[in-house]
Subunit: 316 residues, 2 copies
């Protein structure tokens, strides 16, 4: 068994009462909690992949935008997407949280969302930390394993650039929420329930992709990260971007928290086999080139444009 | 090599400028940052041990109590102490942080403290996340490995209870700071620079201890956790507690954030060999008994007392 199945008996105290309520919400989705550290086993021949992400009320979300279940789900799904970006298989989730006193009575709702995302990643919740804070803050650590992880570095001149899914809904959702507008059900669903592309990433890794990143900051930023990591240049044809209805290519390029995948791969990548397997589009949107004067060139209707950057908390 | 030695080249953006400044402060104490996940290798035959902890301004510390270097150091040292509590050897540290705009110009100071604690644990900084927030928040995840981790559960009736070091300084420091008082240099040093007992824990594991926990909530709470986990009872003789000067046994029992070790071990534990090896006292303070009507009995001058509980953010 990859993790301890049985929880260590918890001592008394208010924090442990909260943990007991979360354990009640998680049921057998949580394994082996209650010790100072979680114990896991990495399969022989595999490397450990680990990522940590913070999701903070006021910075990443507002409490009136989403249900607590959705806030918990999104925080964990976003971290699992980092495992997808390495083509790794999840081993476990740890969740450290600061919880305002007003939310403590509803901690089960948060826990339910966390549990839903963990179930989607087919991995247990193995640890965490609970503390009091003025604002809700979720720091999610995900652990995974991969025999041959795919890195951001590795794209080769001549490779194509491929993106999964359709972009733009989270950006549209944020614009509407900040403006006090109402979200269409399709946009709201994509925003509240992003799906980490874990199986898709492993399929792409087996198909020979050379570099991989998930779209968390937004394509306009993430493609630059992929180019910088690989020390190559890239050209993106924005007219090829697969967008959701009502969103322009430029808006889609700036839309963050998509959690779709951006891969560099030989042009021969079998797009049709992917789409048949996952019922999800994968679209060639550009090309990897040798390093030039500009790391990334964006073309829109044949003209070079600057779509700006995606989301960056420290640039605004 | 246990981790990737070379960082992935970072793309542009304000958040990445901050990361670059932290990397400058860390030098070769950071390994392989810049990808979606960190890659590590767990030695064959060892289990992975992982723990995550949140340290929040206003809840765990105030900015005017400590230097930023000390705040960074303490957050990482506290998490490394959880690896010590499992008798694990550190593999790597990840640090997710919310950083107020006013502190961004001084992020190097935080990073220096984080790097000092990682160096003490002889492990690299392998990942993290940086975001903007109203209050400084550090969520530290530590990864370690152990062939035979020691758990909270395992104490057997007849075992002795042993504690490392001298207790009470962090509690005395908090009382003084909250009252606007001045700390003695010795108390301030113990409060600002707790030392995770990593080598000591591995020595104790080799010496045959049966259960282990680190004193983070305070002895009065943590001994109850040890008893609950092991489904045994324990008697603590508070008069035996090794205390720092000017602190009573009851105060020492309630003092949290000690990061000393509490172990159950056969009474034959070679206390002298430990003290000669580490120049640190290890003191027998009680006994493990069969489960009775009360999980933990505290004796003070021969009389049963209730020292109360240690620190619990949700009970106050």
């Amino acid at each position: 068994m990859p993790v301890e199945e049985v929880h260590t008996a918890l001592g008394p105290g208010g924090e442990f009462d909260l943990i007991r309520r979360m354990l009640g919400a998680w049921g057998d989705r949580a394994h082996g909690l209650g010790d100072d550290g979680a114990l896991l086993d990495v399969p022989p021949g595999s490397r450990l992949v680990v990522s940590t992400d913070m999701s903070l009320e006021g910075t990443h979300f507002q409490l009136d935008w989403l249900a607590l279940e959705e806030i918990g789900y999104r925080a964990v799904a976003a971290s699992l997407s980092d495992l997808a970006a390495m083509a790794a298989t999840p081993l476990g989730v740890l969740i450290a949280m600061a919880l305002p006193a007003t939310l403590a009575p509803r901690v089960e709702a948060l826990a339910i969302g966390v549990g839903e995302a963990a179930a989607l990643g087919r991995c247990p919740i193995v640890g965490g930390d609970t503390t009091r804070g003025d604002r809700l803050c979720l720091a999610v650590t995900v652990l995974g394993h991969a025999r041959t992880p795919v890195r951001r570095a590795g794209a080769r001149p001549g490779d194509g650039l491929f993106v999964t899914g359709r972009l733009g809904a989270p950006g549209a959702a944020l614009s509407a929420l900040r403006g006090g507008g109402v979200l269409s059900p399709a946009v709201r669903s994509r925003f509240a329930h992003p799906v980490p592309r874990l199986d898709e990433a492993r399929w792409l890794a087996d198909a020979g992709i050379t570099a991989l990143i998930d779209l968390s900051d937004g394509l306009a930023s993430d493609v630059r990260h992929l180019a910088a990591a690989g020390e190559v240049a890239m050209t993106v044809e924005l007219d090829r971007l697969p967008v959701v209805e009502g969103v322009s290519a430029l808006e889609a390029a700036r839309s963050g928290e998509e959690y779709e995948l951006l891969a560099a791969a030989p042009a021969s990548l079998d797009v049709r086999a992917f789409e048949e397997r996952f019922h999800l589009p994968v679209t060639r949107i550009g090309t990897v080139t040798a390093t030039g004067s500009v790391p990334v060139t964006f073309l829109h209707r044949g003209v070079r444009v600057d779509p700006g950057m995606g989301h960056d908390h420290f640039s605004r």
